[in-house]
Symmetry: C2
Subunit: 251 residues, 2 copies
Amino acid sequence: MLKTHLKNSKEYQPGLSIDCVIFGFDDNQLKVLLIKTGYDDSWSLPGGFISVDEDIDTAAVSILQARTGLKGIFLRQFSTFGKVKRNQDHFSSDSLAYFGIPPEEVKWYKSRFVTIGYYALVNFLKAIPQTDNPGEMVEWVDHNEVPKLILDHGEILDKALETLRTELNLMPVGYNLLPEKFTIPELQKLYETILGRTLDRRNFLRKITSIGILTKLDEKKSNVAHKAPNLYSFDKDKYEEVLKNGLTQGW
Amino acid sequence: MLKTHLKNSKEYQPGLSIDCVIFGFDDNQLKVLLIKTGYDDSWSLPGGFISVDEDIDTAAVSILQARTGLKGIFLRQFSTFGKVKRNQDHFSSDSLAYFGIPPEEVKWYKSRFVTIGYYALVNFLKAIPQTDNPGEMVEWVDHNEVPKLILDHGEILDKALETLRTELNLMPVGYNLLPEKFTIPELQKLYETILGRTLDRRNFLRKITSIGILTKLDEKKSNVAHKAPNLYSFDKDKYEEVLKNGLTQGW
């Protein structure tokens, strides 16, 4: 919840925050970027506040950079969370003192906050998370092994995952999550991981190739003993086109 | 932007509002519920503020009821709008005086507001909009003939319509928009109106019946000279089931 080097609450929109759900894919696992505070080892989504002179979309990007070191990430807003008691009694006076919040700012932190949720898919290998908040740790956590999160962050994460699942039916997914060259089984595993269920190999192959976003490379996966599978890459132009126009032929 | 009988800004979340896009369908036209203020005849979406002791979803329902007389409407949150200058210079001191805002509240109204967008599909015949704000008018306007709206309300309306179009590919639509008994051409017209383009009659019939949400009635449309078309109704249980599980078989 705390923005790095937050100085004066007057510089921020009152009662409004942003929380980010950052997904990465590695070793056939869907990972989520989480923050562990040094104060009480509690886990949370990376988040922060909105400067009064910043659009909310811009604020989301700068919050993420300040909290995790991730730059230039495309974030998508997915939902706003505004139950009355979502942050009631969250910050104790002790914790605010630990975070260096001066006494005159305590009221601001303890007021009711509505939070805007953003999510992103990032290349796990290119993302090197870091923080300059002392005592804080930024970590990739398997989405099946997420610890208890503060506030309603668990609900926000669930909603982001649900949104991602829906979007699998609306647009191609994978460009930012897979390495440049990948096999069809690797792509299928990504889809299975997001959906949380296994898919029929033939059906998947038929559907994914019918979209026309894959380029079959004249290369095989190395380090595989028998029947090395073919490598593919995304046809970026076609991928962008389908991303723009939507996946389903629809009505 | 003004909530009926707003008395004290301290009762509301600062810098945060809600705007509602209410769609209805009548005479083969998609309509939107708009408000015309008595102050300067400007048009806006029905909207208002969030009580500090109200969840945002609850606030959306009560705002809509207060501003339009529509009760028990299911609203869906679709996006939050937060450009820095979206409400800059919107309220003149004259307009705030007209709305009965006391001088000590002026600063609150002139501060930066982020707004949460909600949309709903309502039965045009059952919805009897009204307002007890003097000088204010609530009107259904054809979505192709929407006048210039205040602030970024035009952008909010466009985004709601875009969301509705996407949702046509994810879930059945029509239950709240059509009368209880309807013909396939009427249902097709609804889809065409939302999508903004014509659809092939045979393809539509095949796709819509394959979903399994329609019950063919033993009744024909009256008042039609030749070849009276069959009437249908929605199978409510099946409709709810598809609404819950999603339309596309997907992956």
